[in-house]
């Protein structure tokens, strides 16, 4: 959803866009979009202003925003879930497996982010435009 919002902002090339408009494209509620924009603001990816005729726009060119940044801006929970209860400390395996798995999972997440870094917002926009142009579905 975050990528979708940023893609629309990129598509509008610097024009300010309201949360209501973005909500229309994502097909959700403006409040959802505003909550999402707060995270993107914290990451300095977008610039948002209150007031009549205003709204949000990208803070950088789409070519200088990659999807790993978007992921880090939005995703605050770890992709690998650990059980809520602590393992049995009396078990030789249980009492120290957590820290080892944390290491392995951090590495895996980093590998994933490194792959996401290869794709910029501009790449996404280009793919979208190409897909629209090659006639899979005729854009309005």
């Amino acid at each position: 959803m975050a990528v979708h919002v940023l893609a629309v902002l990129a598509y509008k090339e610097g024009d300010r866009v309201t949360s209501a408009f973005l909500a229309g494209s994502v097909n959700t509620n403006p409040v959802i979009i505003r909550r999402l924009l707060l995270s993107l603001q914290r990451a300095r990816l977008v610039d948002t202003c209150k007031g009549a005729g205003l709204g949000s726009r990208l803070n950088r060119s789409p070519g200088r925003i990659n999807l790993a940044e978007v992921y880090r801006a939005v995703e605050e929970v770890e992709p690998f879930a650990s059980p809520s209860r602590k393992p049995n400390a009396a078990c030789p395996v249980g009492h120290c497996i957590r820290e080892e798995l944390d290491r392995v999972f951090a590495s895996a997440e980093k590998a994933m982010e490194h792959d996401l870094e290869k794709t910029s917002l501009a790449d996404v926009i280009n793919a979208v435009k190409a897909s629209g142009a090659c006639g899979k579905k005729r854009a309005v």
Copy 2:
């Protein structure tokens, strides 16, 4: 949790272990373990038998089981969530961004799995044993 269970089985080196014992190490309920074991059975990672004195054991040596296999055996939902509602098809961005993101996310997940492949269950066991031996906490 799946890795924890498999690590205990590896630690027991071929002996059959009951779901009750595994639940004790993970600090959860035997039923949770049994449901997890069903997934691991489907992936041919463990071999489980009903009956007095039986239980589960690894189907392969720990060195021949990597964490990517465990991940695929257990995780059936995509790590990247897509919004429940379809995007607005009338929007030039919305009507085709999904398929492009599916491509990017599939690549990122693959990169993550590729990193997980580098770690085997034997690696986890060795780290656990080393951590226990170096005296951070004295095992029982």
